[in-house]
Symmetry: C2
Subunit: 164 residues, 2 copies
DNA sequence: TATTGTTATACTCTATAACTATA
DNA sequence: TATAGTTATAGAGTATAACAATA
C-alpha cells in the first residue's frame, strides 16, 4: 500500500493530465469534438454494440452517450440499426464515412503524440499504458458488473468520516 | 520511438482516465468543485504566487484562472494581496480557512485512492506518478518558457494536411 | 413493473475577445 | 505600446430527472 503523500501526488497528476487531453482535443477535426472521437474510437475497437454497452465503455451516463451518438449519427459516421432481439435497443455501427473519420483522428492523434513523445522509448510508453489501464480497472471494477469485491470495509479506520 | 498502435492506445487511455477524474471530483466537498480544489492544492504546494504563475501551473487560460480564484476568494479560502513590485498584479495566499479546506480535500482524495488502489504496491503508484509527470513535461515544455526545441519540422511530410 | 433510450435542464470547465489599470 | 488581470460570451462535457416505448 502506498503512502498518503503518494496519493496526493497522484491526485495532482490526474488533475494535471487534463492539459494533455486538451492539447489532444485541440487538434481534432472540426465537427468532431472529443465526445464524438471517443464514440468512433470505441466502435472501431470493439465493433457494433448497443447504447448501453457504449455508455459503459465511455464510463458516462447514457444520456451523455445519447448526445454524443446523435452528433456522430447526424454526420453520417455511424448508423443506428434496430436490434432484432430487443425493440427498445439500437445497434450502433460505423459507416464507411465513419471509418474514414476514425482514420483521420488516428493520424492526427498519432502524429501529435509521436512528436511530443519523440524521446520516449517503446517500453516507457507501454508502461504508462499498462499503469493507466490498471488505474482505470481499479476504479471501474466497482462500477461494472464485476463487483467481485464484497464492498469496502473500514474496520480498522477509527478516523472520523469527516464528511464536512 | 514507440509504434503507432501504442500511441493510439495511449490516446484511448488518456481519454478514459477522465472517468477516474470524475470519480475523484464527485467526492469533493460542496462548494468546492475541481477547479477550486486545483487552486487550493497548487497554492498549498508552491506557496504564495501571482495569478499568471497559477495559470501556468494550472495550464489553463488566465481568464479561467481568474474565475476559479474568484470562487475560492469569495469563500474566504484565499486572499489576494497587492503586489508591491507591480500594482497590476496580485499575490494569492491561502488563508487558515483555506488550509482547513485543503486538508479536507486531501483526506477525501487520499481515502478514495487508498480504497481503490488497495492492491497497488508503493512502487507501482510511484511509477505511475513518474510517468504521468513526464508525460505532462513532454507536452508542457512547448508551452512554458522552456521551448528549447526549435519548433516541429515536417520536412518529410508529403502527406496532405487533411484539414477537413 | 423494470429497462432502453431520448430529451430538457442545469452546472462546471474552458477559450476568445473586449476591457481596465498599470508598466 | 505591452502586460496583468477581469468580465462577458459561447461551446463542450456531464449528471439528474422526466418521459416514451418496449420487455
Amino acid at each position: 500500500m502506498a503512502e498518503q503523500a503518494q496519493f496526493e501526488e497522484l491526485a495532482r497528476q490526474l488533475s494535471a493530465v487534463g492539459a494533455v487531453k486538451r492539447d489532444l482535443g485541440r487538434i481534432l477535426p472540426p465537427d468532431c469534438p472529443t465526445g464524438s472521437a471517443a464514440v468512433l474510437t470505441l466502435l472501431g475497437r470493439h465493433g457494433d454494440m448497443r447504447m448501453s454497452k457504449l455508455a459503459e465503455l465511455l464510463a458516462v451516463d447514457m444520456s451523455v452517450t445519447s448526445r454524443h451518438v446523435a452528433h456522430v449519427a447526424a454526420r453520417g459516421w455511424i448508423e443506428r440499426l434496430p436490434d432484432p432481439a430487443d425493440k427498445r435497443s439500437r445497434i450502433l455501427r460505423l459507416t464507411p464515412s465513419g471509418l474514414e473519420q476514425l482514420d483521420e483522428l488516428s493520424r492526427r492523434t498519432t502524429r501529435l503524440l509521436a512528436e511530443r513523445l519523440a524521446d520516449w522509448t517503446d517500453d516507457e510508453v507501454g508502461q504508462l499504458i499498462r499503469l493507466m489501464t490498471r488505474l482505470r480497472d481499479s476504479f471501474g471494477d466497482c462500477r461494472s458488473a464485476s463487483m467481485r469485491l464484497p464492498a469496502p470495509v473500514f474496520e480498522e479506520t477509527t478516523r472520523t468520516p469527516a464528511n464536512t
